[in-house]
């Protein structure tokens, strides 16, 4: 075999090993989690609202709802901000300024989530407690922090898709007499729709997966939240906060929580992939 062939094969091997690691992780999560779901029933696992592992009641409905609200909240904060920022970088600012801004936004992605959590805990939580009452550790605090955390994802992907548009779109709109703003709002944003939607979905994936910062600022109450000032627990924080002491069925229930998360993330990523592919076709 020539040297080139050897290299080729070894790269193949490395690529396969990273895929097989994914396979192994999936296998272990399922192997640990499925028996428990089987034992207590899918319906009472997904829709049960009582989480008392020491009393053998494993209902993760409050966590599913918690994940849903926190993610939705983060999108409400992050999507308008992120989109506005992408449009600004792409259309409204001189290239030199954009060149300074862009790395700073990418820096947001490099900040460890524990720092976001700490900042939320020290700054946002007391602010919310003093202003609105309640414990402060709440969906509102979590949404605000997560909204900032998903900004880099939304900004960079949206900006890329805006930039990938043919120049003729904008030129055509302007030459037809549209103002700059009309061109952005009526032509460019709709044309980049698929990339923007993909960025939002990937941001959602990031929001659902975030654990450390959420453990610190959500308060982790395993209740069905009634307002955005209530504490909540997400699927990931359910695993993160309890894994240290969990044993037996409790541990398996945490893996089963992982199975549910696995499906949610798979669905989100597939949708993102489909949407962005459809846009290109």
């Amino acid at each position: 075999m020539s040297k080139e062939k050897i290299l080729e094969k070894s790269f193949l091997l490395i690529a396969l090993s990273s895929i097989s690691i994914l396979g192994l992780i999936a296998f272990f999560i399922f192997e640990q989690g499925i028996p428990l779901i089987w034992k207590i029933g899918l319906k009472s696992f997904l829709l049960g609202d009582r989480w008392f592992p020491s009393k053998e009641s494993f209902g993760i409905f409050p966590m599913i709802v918690g994940s849903f609200w926190v993610t939705l909240g983060s999108l409400v904060v992050g999507v308008p901000l992120g989109l506005a920022c992408a449009v600004f970088l792409c259309e409204l600012t001189p290239p030199t300024f954009a060149m300074i801004l862009r790395p700073m936004i990418q820096l947001l992605a490099a900040i460890p989530s524990v720092i976001y959590g700490f900042w939320g805990l020290i700054v946002l939580v007391p602010l919310i407690r003093e202003t609105f009452g309640g414990p402060g550790l709440s969906i509102l605090a979590g949404s605000l922090v997560l909204g900032i955390m998903i900004l880099p994802t939304i900004i960079s992907i949206s900006e890329d898709s805006l930039r990938a548009l043919p120049r003729t779109y904008k030129e055509g709109a302007l030459s037809l007499g549209a103002t700059h703003w009309q061109a952005i709002w009526r032509v460019l944003l709709p044309a980049a729709r698929s990339g923007i939607v993909a960025s939002v979905i990937l941001g959602m994936g990031r929001a659902i997966g975030e654990t450390m910062a959420m453990i610190m600022i959500l308060g982790n109450a395993a209740q069905l939240p009634r307002s955005i000032l209530d504490s909540a627990r997400t699927l990931t924080t359910n695993i993160g906060i309890e894994m240290g002491y969990a044993s037996g069925d409790h541990r398996q229930a945490l893996f089963a929580t992982g199975v549910v998360l696995f499906f949610i993330i798979m669905i989100l990523n597939s949708v993102a992939l489909l949407v962005s592919r459809k846009g290109k076709a």
Partner: protein
Amino acid sequence: MGKGRGSRWVHWLGLLILPALLSGCQRQPGGVSVVGSTSVEPFAEALAEEYMSRHPGVKIFVQGGGSSAGIQAVRTGSAEIGMSSRNLIDSEKDLIAVPIIYDAIAVIVHRENPLNDLTLDQIRKIFSAEITRWVEWGGKNHPITLVTREEGSGTREAFQKLIMGKREISLSALVQDSNGAIRQVVTDDRNAIGYISLGLVNDRVKALKIGGIEATVDNIQHQRYQIVRPFLFVFKSRPQDLAKDFLDYILSPAGQKLLVQEGLISMNPIPESKKEARR
């Protein structure tokens, strides 16, 4: 392939083997590893430090991870000693558990809370969310913020058993995964109530009397204050060699004294230890 690449391979191999070698160290006769409860960990570290300074050359590795992780580690043999702040459950009863010291649990509120004293029944009603506002005691009409430990925690289990009995801790309670985090929430939130190890109570929170009885060493040793739990060392079989020696040291007056200084409670009172629990 050139010589250069060959030696590079050796480096990579070394990197791969290094962790295995390092973990192998713990199995050598000169060392013993202690793994488990994060409640016991800081105390075990202090003990290990003292023990190692008395026996140069001996290594004691202390690691957190949680009671269950520690018990699991003892079962699989990856650690000689497990630390547990909860009692063994039925499926773990084949292991040997030795209480090394006792820890009292204090119910804490914000420093400015006017309340000083609650009965067991009142605490039970508060934590099961039957009473949800401080106004019941002439305080301001603020909702009570409950703070509890996560399911599976030894502190929570002890609190559940010693105070709540058959009642559940309300699901609306905030859940924090360490004593320190609970203390922080109670320090910051004037409506909060939580529970932590007595040894970790400081002057930024207020420990309540329970049924008029303050959590002092004297009250605990005479079993007047009864919210007390054991810290356990867990072994797979009868402890031997170094593990046994370390355990003997901990149970000796010197070891117990060190733990008492850290705010824990020895049930075999040593003369010097008859002072108030440290705040």
